[in-house]
């Protein structure tokens, strides 16, 4: 068997930034890395072409009576900007203590390799393991998986034969407590461009007669939240799923520490919708955030222009059962209604993803028709986590998004067992991303036990 840490270094060295076309070689390198690795473990590898980046399907067949797991992951990563803030080069993996630094170390190269390693070890120990396995590794997760719906409609029948999906692309609250993610937020993203005069103008010769597009944009942005921290868009909260008592209880067991969370963030005060703790707000409430804003002169010194244009990048995180298209339409309608006269608006649609919830077995709201293999997978995960980590996992919804999980559910009916493996301090989507190698080691052992238990039942 391979050394998983060395393999992870190799994986990180491929700069697989999916949103930026200049990283084409890195994408190809990461894709070949995954295909070769799974091929070496005896999997039949198919590279499925899509409009953007290929999806890798790697399968191990077997008796139709054997349980069938789809293991999901992604080989693409976020851009590394701002590169200047990295202490080590983002695509040159660097081990310091029990951490490996590099873009994608935690999202999702480390966790994906954890599951591949577990399967490799398990098959080495028991080549006749009664488990059918399909790896489904995509290359567009960080750009919203635009090719995934088309892929799904072509492969629905084959995926429908499986019993459940397993993945590690969610978070642990700390390195002692494992979480099985029972919900993910969805996404609705768009850019707003505001145009005033037909060109940049001298602020002396023309200042005082027209609405500055930066001012118009500021007024629009400012209108989208109440001072209390709720999103100020009519209908925005209409479809938000109620929180179950057992969900609040699980979260209470986590004993989240507000003070150290605040210190970690480096903020003077939390800013949370009324009626929610910070930890509840992330899991149970939707957001509307501004990811970027720009317009006019941004260089050193001054340039006394009234700019012609300004823009903002908006993203909403959605919770079940909000629909991304409906939310985008509501926000855009509110913006159009509120925009001051004298400027023109242009909306550029970006990606979207549906929110997702799954209820573990034995809860008041567990669906009566839940798949027995899915229920077994949840029980096996509870048991393996308790053995390896010394305490049972918690079932929690989380704030991040893996939009294809809801897509898979809708297209194939399959639910997902999401075993979190990255930590808040791993700096996902930010400079100096890293992955905890102790977590990786325990993760390998946990996944081995889960798959063994699902297989032998």
């Amino acid at each position: 068997m391979f050394d998983p840490v060395e393999k992870l270094k190799e994986f990180i060295r491929h700069p697989s930034v999916s949103t930026d076309p200049s990283f084409k070689q890195g994408m190809l390198g990461a894709q070949n890395f995954v295909s070769t690795l799974l091929g070496s473990l005896g999997f039949k590898v198919e590279v499925v072409k899509t409009d953007v980046h290929p999806i890798i399907l790697a399968s191990r067949g077997g008796d139709p009576s054997w349980p069938h797991v789809v293991i999901y992951g992604h080989y693409d990563v976020q851009p590394a900007d701002p590169v200047a803030l990295w202490k080590t080069p983002p695509f040159e993996p660097t081990v310091v203590g029990n951490r490996i630094y590099g873009r994608g170390a935690a999202d999702n190269k480390g966790p994906l390799l954890t599951n591949i390693t577990a399967i490799g070890l398990l098959l080495e120990e028991n080549p006749n393991l009664p488990l059918r396995i399909t790896f489904l590794i995509e290359g567009e997760e960080e750009m919203g998986s635009p090719s995934f719906p088309a892929f799904l409609s072509g492969y629905t029948d084959r995926l429908k034969e499986a019993d459940f999906v397993f993945l590690s692309d969610t978070a642990l609250p700390n390195e002692h407590q494992v979480v099985i993610t029972s919900g993910l937020r969805g996404l609705a993203l768009f850019d707003l461009h505001v145009t005033g005069a037909k060109g940049d103008l001298h602020s002396g010769l023309h200042g005082g007669v027209l609405l500055n597009p930066i001012q118009a944009l500021a007024e629009i942005c400012a209108s989208l939240h109440t001072p209390e921290g709720r999103v100020n868009v009519p209908g925005f909260y209409d479809d938000v799923l109620n929180v179950e008592d057992w969900e609040r209880e699980q979260l209470a067991l986590l004993k989240p520490d507000a003070k150290s969370y605040q210190e970690f963030l480096g903020i003077d005060a939390f800013h949370v919708p009324p009626g929610f703790t910070p930890f509840e707000a992330i899991r149970f409430q939707p957001t509307l955030e501004f990811n970027g804003i720009g317009g006019g002169y941004q260089g050193e010194g001054t340039k006394t222009v009234i700019p012609s244009k300004a823009f903002v990048k908006v993203s909403c995180r959605l919770v079940a059962n909000q629909q991304p298209d409906r939310i985008k339409a509501l926000v855009i309608a509110a913006i159009k209604e509120r925009a001051p006269k004298g400027v023109r608006l242009e909306f550029v649609d970006q990606h979207k993803g549906e929110p997702y919830v799954v209820v573990p077995p034995g809860r008041p709201n567990t669906p009566k028709d839940q798949s027995p293999v899915l229920a077994r997978a949840f029980r096996a995960t509870e048991s393996a986590v308790t053995q390896v980590w010394g305490r049972p996992p918690l079932y929690l919804r989380e704030g991040g998004s893996v939009p294809i999980i809801a897509e898979i559910k809708r297209a194939t009916g399959l639910d997902s067992v999401m075993l979190g493996l990255f930590l808040p301090e791993d700096n996902l989507h930010a400079p100096n991303e890293s992955f905890n190698l102790d977590v990786m080691k325990k993760g390998v052992e946990t996944a081995k036990r889960i798959f063994a238990a699902v297989a032998t039942s």
Copy 2:
């Protein structure tokens, strides 16, 4: 005598961007160009070192009984960004029809060369012209003339001996109507930086617990104007000078055309403080503008971060008798009071300039102690303009700023005769700046007559 158009081409080819240190060679080239040219006309040239860019003083002495004019101009230009929007290279002068294109063509290289040419021709015709002349050509106008106060305190006594200042760094409303500028707006500039979390954060893992600095910035910016278009800062308008009846009458004589102005700007509607026409607003009212804004991810596609920082560049145009320091303090106090909790503010001071007014002879509010030579210069200008352009000039305050005019007044008591020479369509501070060569020709003839009349009286 030299060909003024060829000389102007030569002048434009020196990329003298004062705010950007990488244009050092261009600054030096423009400075040498001016020094050499004035030297060739018989002036005694001094290059006065300052902390940033030198000031050129070029003098022609004479009998102490002769009138003494200080001719002001600047050899520096605005940055050319966004360079991609230029149709011709900004520092390669291009003549198309009766226009010369290039950065600085109108602001201020063309108008300055107009006055130098007039003096050259006049001295060629009459080498014994009874007029003392001091050219004062600075290289920091586009960066707020930071070295000018120190220069002034060193040269106050010398400048005090002069009778008035003459310059062409203001605008004509159209190519048929000359304006003598009777007021300039002042400036108060600063940047505001807003910081939220200590680093960029994943908008899924942390979205919902903290105030996004872009949102905080938007709320601050939105609060600084009323919906009607007034600056919403307590005390902002306290010191604003009343408009005289003769000023409104002069403006009415201009017969400004709102419809074609709106078309020129390319806007759907004017946005003017209540009680003012667009043309009055520019001349008689102060503004608060946002010249640039930035924060978070501004690239292609999406990056779902909550940024750590965002900033805005603020500039106020002031009218007499607002004090820049007081206005900055009022605006900053309002921002501090209104800023939402959970973010940190940092203010970076930029430059400033006092507003200025001068009243021509024979008005109800003309100062009783106005200098006779200044009064004569105004009358001479009225007469020359009427002869060369076929209609008398109008006295109008204008929206732009030449902060050193107020500085000179304060330090030396000298008032300025400002003969406008550039046009609204000259695109000052914007891409495709140009200067009208017919205006230049008439400007040379006008200036010749003015200086001849001042001298011979």
